[in-house]
């Protein structure tokens, strides 16, 4: 039943979805690369971004060109604060802890996620907010596929942002510093790189990107307190597939997951489409922990 | 054959590097063998292979003549082969007494038996006063003593000690060497890895010197240390 037209449709839509995933996952991969932890509050950065954009654009009536960066900054600020207040102990000597490093990281980020979700739920309310679309066109032809203008615009912004991030990591001093620290924290700090500052930077960046993703999609998904849970889980899957900590891996894995879900939903099962990624995650962790491209092995 | 542990043509490669190259020797019951050699000569790798933490690419290890290559550490432990690590490994969030009990109970001692044994060890190693502290709070030396003790909760057939004396206070060093001497007198078998030549000379009747993964010399400690190859190795090691 898979006609050429349908296949093209699924491919285009899958890739676009993958782009959005990437915006979330890259940040998570950066954090893991530098700190060796999974941020279980990543989805809440996304949620905060969605609200920031919606409130700034819809309530305060600020132009979208301003609202989007505002969302990014919101997420970045949050990420920075989180790193400063909660992540510092991770570099401290943890031998004497009642809690070990990994447990601490999981509990704290997990608790943070609960905190943010409920804070927003109480402070702003459980209602879903509708955000103004980036463009009003409700149908645009994209190659073989049709797509809502909002989606096309969001995809465009995403592409630009990702390209920018890539250049930043590749060429800027701080970009190189980030890569150095994720390869060898000790070595990097011996080489005079401020690993702590890099950690802050990475958290801010990750927070900003996730928030931007939330902002871009809020017109489609409608901001609500628990809106982050889903994209977060997707990005966990992606980070594992791409090889924990590998940025390029995360990007490619994002597109891949997008395609897998898009085709799987039609060819395999619509009902269980969301389990595909999770099954992949488990299989990868068990049989190919270094992911598709990562070199690093599982910590045993 | 009377050998307790026999290493036959064991070889281990890491990528290009040959860490252990066709090493063979036997250890008879009751022996106290010093395993010496410059850094990177393959001592620890060899020990890891003997204790089941690494698997040899070639060659076999025999315990009482039975091949036990590829056995997991816990299985070898149950066979009475005890390993003390160079980097101390204890249970930081458990108190000192429980640290010892783990070994005893795992090797099938009854609670009370294990208790008595532990108390005796604590006295002998002079760390009885910290028995109820969490091991994580001990000083480096005390931790070493504790791990040392863990190896003797149930008299091992063979104790593999990796640098027990490295970087600890002389009195603690003394406690351990006394302990070793006493047990050796009772017929306990040891393999002792150390850079501390005086201790080796003092404790070990026999020594095996390795360099670049090979056995340079094996025999009476004094002869081994006198062997030109050995001296060369150490000087070379020093020069390098």
């Amino acid at each position: 039943m898979l006609t050429g037209a349908l296949a093209a449709d699924l491919a285009v839509n899958g890739l676009v979805t993958g782009l959005f995933y990437a915006l979330m996952a890259v940040g998570l991969a950066l954090i893991f690369g530098v700190l060796r932890i999974v941020n279980f509050a990543h989805g809440e950065f996304y949620m905060v971004g969605a609200y920031a954009y919606t409130i700034v654009a819809a309530r305060l009536g600020v132009p979208l060109a301003v609202a989007l960066p505002t969302a990014f900054l919101f997420g970045a600020a949050l990420g920075w604060i989180v790193e400063r207040t909660l992540m510092r102990p991770l570099y401290a000597n943890i031998a004497t802890w009642g809690l070990m490093r990994d447990e601490y990281a999981v509990i704290v980020t997990f608790g943070l996620s609960l905190l943010l979700v409920n804070l927003v739920d109480k402070a702003i309310g459980p209602y879903a907010f509708r955000a103004p679309a980036l463009v009003s066109a409700s149908r645009i032809v994209v190659g073989p596929a049709l797509m809502s203008g909002q989606k096309v615009a969001a995809a465009g912004v995403t592409l630009v942002t990702l390209a920018f991030i890539a250049l930043f990591l590749r060429f800027s001093y701080w970009g190189r510093a980030v890569r150095a620290v994720s390869q060898n924290r000790l070595g990097a700090s011996l080489a005079g790189i401020d690993a702590t500052a890099v950690s802050s930077l990475v958290f801010a960046l990750a927070g900003g990107l996730a928030a931007l993703a939330g902002a871009l999609l809020s017109p489609i998904i409608n901001a609500s307190p628990d809106v982050g849970a889903f994209p977060a889980i997707k990005s966990y899957v992606i980070v594992v597939l791409g090889g924990m900590g590998s940025i390029l891996g995360a990007f490619i894995a994002s597109l891949l997951l997008g395609l897998v879900e898009s085709f799987g939903a039609v060819l395999v099962s619509y009902q269980y489409r969301d389990t595909f990624g999770l099954v992949l995650l488990i299989l990868f962790l068990l049989f190919r922990p270094q992911g598709l491209f990562g070199e690093r092995g599982r910590e045993v | 054959m009377s050998s307790l542990l026999s290493v036959e043509g064991v070889t281990k490669r890491f990528g290009g590097l040959v860490a252990v190259a066709d090493v063979s020797f036997d250890i008879a019951p009751g022996e106290l063998v010093g395993l010496i050699g410059p850094n990177g000569s393959g001592k620890t790798t060899l020990l890891n292979i003997m204790s089941g933490h690494l698997f040899a690419d070639q060659g076999t290890i025999r315990l009482d003549g039975e091949p036990c290559t590829g056995f997991k550490p816990q299985r070898l432990a149950r066979r009475g082969l005890m390993r003390m690590f160079q980097l101390t490994r204890i249970f930081p969030r458990m108190n000192v007494l429980d640290n010892l009990l783990v070994g005893g109970r795992a090797l099938g001692l009854h609670v009370d038996e294990a208790r008595e044994r532990a108390d005796a060890l604590l006295e002998e190693l002079q760390i009885a006063h910290v028995r109820h502290l969490d091991a994580g709070q001990l000083s480096g030396g005390q931790m070493k003593l504790l791990e040392f003790g863990c190896c003797f909760m149930r008299t091992p057939r063979l104790a593999l000690l990796d640098e027990p004396f490295a970087a600890i206070h002389p009195t603690m060093k003394e406690i351990m060497s006394t302990f070793i001497r006493a047990r050796h007198a009772e017929g306990q078998t040891f393999v002792l890895v150390s850079h501390d030549m005086p201790v080796i000379v003092e404790l070990c009747p026999r020594s095996i010197c390795m360099n670049a993964g090979r056995v340079l010399s094996d025999g009476k400690t004094s002869d081994v240390l006198a062997a030109p190859a050995v001296i060369e190795a150490y000087l070379g090691g020093a020069a390098a």
């Binding site: 009642g98 943070l112 609960l114 | -």
Partner: protein
């Protein structure tokens, strides 16, 4: 103080706590509050079982709620399609959770830290998604209604309290045996434990299976109590609550999770009428405790009881 003395003290404290709870119906017979206490007990069982994994074995699973859900569906499905009696349903639910736990535990044996957390989280999500999307079998999010067992709220309260006591006693017996020693050893240093001759695979898998079974037991019991089983039982947020309760009460102690569960749950119900910021407060508490008082409330209490021996915090 030695490990088993500490454990015995915690056990006695827990026993006293349960006895006090058992007296509550004398003063409070309001069905609403009895219900709240029942749910608290439900969470206390979940937290205690999770604590066996995270607190004593160092396996930081994020699937306790999922196993409770599995237990609940085990009971509900067998009741719906084979109309088995509640007792049998309980056994089926517990068994199903325990069996799946055994398999999962064996699979994730070698995984640590974030890797273990992610794998168990994914498993939990898969379980929930399957439950909520297999509409023809489970009626999906609409939930599977089952015949309540009995209706007397006071009786239910004692059933759950009994179940909790049962689980606590089981854990106590397990932990004071050599198993407790081995599990803690594995938590602290697997290699050292292996060196000492501890059977790592066996004990880790066993702990996972037992913990899962206990969670499944709680879930199955809850199914008969609520008489409606929905996939929401397996939501990650439910796990979040279990973690919070354990951390606040005190991880790695027998009594901590129980205290945490009743404290967090009853207070949050009690605060419900005044704005319902309770969940915000508790989430914040979790972070504060993890950051500053890593041994939880119980740790603070014991520290206060014997100031001269500063316990590691």
């Amino acid at each position: 103080m030695s490990g088993d003395i500490r454990l015995r003290r915690e056990f006695i404290a827990t026993a006293l706590l349960l006895v006090m709870l058992a007296l509550l119906p004398l003063v409070q017979r309001d069905v609403y509050w009895l219900g709240v206490l029942v749910v608290s007990a439900y969470f206390a069982i979940l937290a205690s079982s999770w604590n066996l994994l995270a607190g004593f074995t160092g396996q930081f699973s994020l699937a306790p709620a999922a196993f409770a859900m599995i237990g609940a569906y085990g009971a509900a499905l067998s009741a719906t399609y084979y109309s088995v009696p509640p007792i049998l349903g309980l056994i089926i639910g517990t068994g199903a959770a325990g069996l799946i736990g055994l398999v999962l535990g064996r699979i994730v044996m070698r995984l640590k830290g974030p890797y273990l957390a992610l794998t168990t989280l994914s498993f939990a999500e898969i379980a929930r998604l399957v439950a909520s999307n297999s509409i023809n079998i489970t009626r999906g999010d609409l939930g599977l209604p089952i015949e309540g067992w009995f209706n007397d709220r006071v009786l239910w309260f004692y059933v759950f309290l009994g179940a909790l006591a049962f689980v606590i006693c089981g854990l106590y017996l397990l932990l004071r045996s050599k198993a407790g020693l081995f599990l803690e050893a594995i938590r602290d240093d697997e290699i050292a434990a292996a060196r000492s001759g501890v059977r790592i695979v066996f004990w880790k898998t066993a702990a996972f299976a037992i913990s899962s079974a206990a969670a499944g037991f709680a879930g199955a019991l809850y199914a008969y109590f609520a008489s409606l089983v929905t996939p929401e039982l397996g939501l990650v947020q439910q796990t979040g609550l279990v973690v919070s309760m354990t951390v606040i009460g005190g991880m790695g102690s027998l009594i901590g999770p129980v205290v945490g569960a009743f404290l967090v749950y009853v207070t949050s119900e009690w605060l419900r009428d005044v704005g319902g910021w309770q969940l915000v407060i508790f989430a914040a508490l979790v972070i504060v405790f993890a950051r500053l008082f890593r041994t939880g409330l119980w740790g603070l209490v014991t520290a206060a009881l014997q100031p001269r021996r500063g316990k590691p915090a």
